[in-house]
Amino acid sequence: MNAKLKTSTKVLLLKVIIHLSALLPLLNLYYLAFTDQLSADPVQRVIHFTGIGAFNLLLITLLVTPLAKILKQGYLLQVRRLLGLYAFSYALFHVLNFISFDLQFAWSLFFNEVVKRPYISIGMAAFVLLTLLAITSHNALRRKMGASWQKLHNFNYLIVILVAVHFYWSVKSELISPMLYILLTIILLAFRHRKIKSLLLLLFCKGKK
């Protein structure tokens, strides 16, 4: 077995694990929820589960690059898109749960809540951005977009910050979990402090002109 084949096998294995760890919990969740076995209020449960799942997946996505560098395992980068797409899928279920099971398609209430409640506005902004990233993740589109693709996908850093604030703002009193998530977010962004600094400088200089 040569080294090249070995790497592709590793990537394949990793992808299978990611598919299983993302899909099985989701299937289990909805099976229990549909059959009314998921606690007294399955609505709240599915919303929280998919929300925190999306955040976890976003953080794991951000962990890939620094991990690949530290471990010197470049092939890890090949699962970044898959993880990102699952983060988007969980976020999509999170939003759909809110609209269909919680608000039960009371659209006026939905739009009101998005506009009036800052934590929901922020969450929706993150979701819209994440949707753009998911759509443009296709290889053909990526080639077509050229340099602007990377610019767009740098928004991932903004997305994770928005999601952290959304989580912190949504809880009633228990702040320790959201604080831990904020800490993780800061650590993962700190790995990219140079890149983020230059992005901010770029933004700042453009604003000056």
Binding site: L24, Q37, G53, D102, Q104, L109, S173
Partner: protein, 339 residues
């Protein structure tokens, strides 16, 4: 000579999982977060079934708190209300003393000891008294009251409580002229209440939990001291052995496992009001026209039977539908100021 052979299967004392760890096993599993299918699956299963494939804890049967049948007169006026099933009422609880997640009180409160119990009624009154465990169910004639319960988080239930009017109890101690408010306190016992010992489990609120009512609110015939539900004594997750039920106010006013009722001259500083005064007021009357700063209060999800697809979003009514009995208490008050 006696030769002791150690049986291989026999567990040593050191093998026994510390009870506090054992009691928190589900939280521990959950805290691991998204580490792969194993972690997340087992936490999802553990929350709902007794043991999952990935549960590392042995399949030990939790002891279940024993409730006993009560004698009471039935509520004939409200039988038409669709009641929330008992198993939902006793597994979906906000009782941070036993964990801030809805499922935690039912899991962590089963060993709660309520007998002996002491409930003191004191303060600005002529005849302060102390009730023991038996007094709670024997001193007053018990009646069933089927009430709507509206949580500030916008879910609601219909609960068949058993209890007696708080007014009857207060009349016994004869409030004096300085008594303007009633202050309630939950038991403080971190050894029994893990949420009081662990800030994260307990949701970061201050303990003991304190609630309060204006004296006229407390004397309203709707205001109930509940000692049971669905015909039996309260399980601990619902506030055993005695709790308050104020059906026209958000659920957090209905304080659980009460050890002290005090008549006072000044408005008590209540737990949620202290934590976030802009979000939770002293009055906390159910009011569809006054939103929580972070979500609308105009409608609610009524939890009855049915899973994810239950079409159960209904309009929230002013004073939770009890306006006829209580609106007069707030005549001339700006309810968006005194929320």
């Amino acid at each position: 000579m006696l030769i002791k052979f150690k049986n291989k299967d026999q567990l040593k004392a050191s093998d026994v999982t510390d009870e506090s760890v054992y009691l928190q096993r589900r939280q521990l599993v959950k805290n691991m977060g998204f580490l792969g299918a194993g972690a997340i699956l087992s936490s999802a299963i553990a929350k709902n079934a007794q043991a999952g494939f990935f549960d590392s804890a042995p399949a030990k049967k939790d002891t279940v708190f024993k409730t006993t049948e009560l004698k009471f007169t039935t509520d004939t006026k409200n039988q038409s209300l669709i009641k929330t099933p008992e198993n939902k009422i006793i597994t979906h609880n906000n009782f941070y003393e036993f964990g801030a997640q809805k499922n935690q009180p039912a899991e962590l409160a089963q060993n709660f000891n309520v007998d002996p119990w002491q409930l003191t009624i004191s303060g600005e009154c002529e005849k302060p008294i102390m009730l023991d465990y038996d007094d709670l169910t024997k001193m007053f004639a018990l009646e069933e009251r089927i009430y709507r319960l509206r949580c500030v988080e916008t879910w609601s239930m219909v609960v068949p409580w058993i209890g007696f009017s708080l007014a009857e109890l207060l009349k016994k101690v004869v409030p004096n002229s300085s008594a303007k408010y009633v202050q309630f306190e939950t038991l403080y016992d971190p050894k029994q209440m893990p949420g009081q010992a662990d800030r994260r489990l307990g949701g970061g609120i201050s303990y003991p939990y304190v609630e309060g009512l204006r004296l006229d609110e407390a004397m309203n015939p709707l205001t109930l001291m509940s000692v049971g539900l669905y015909g039996k004594t309260l399980p601990p997750q619902n506030g055993a052995p005695i709790r308050l039920v104020v059906p026209w106010k958000y659920g957090f006013k209905s304080i659980k496992s009460i050890v002290s009722i005090k008549l006072v001259s000044k408005q008590p500083k209540t737990t949620w009001q202290q934590l976030a005064p802009n979000e939770y007021g002293f009055y906390a009357n159910v009011n569809p026209n006054h939103d929580h700063p972070r979500w609308s209060q105009a409608s609610e999800r009524r939890i009855t039977s049915g899973g994810l697809f239950a079409r159960n979003r209904i309009e929230t009514l002013p004073f939770n539908g009890y306006g006829e009995q209580v609106a007069h208490l707030y005549k001339g008050m700006d309810l968006s100021k005194y929320y």
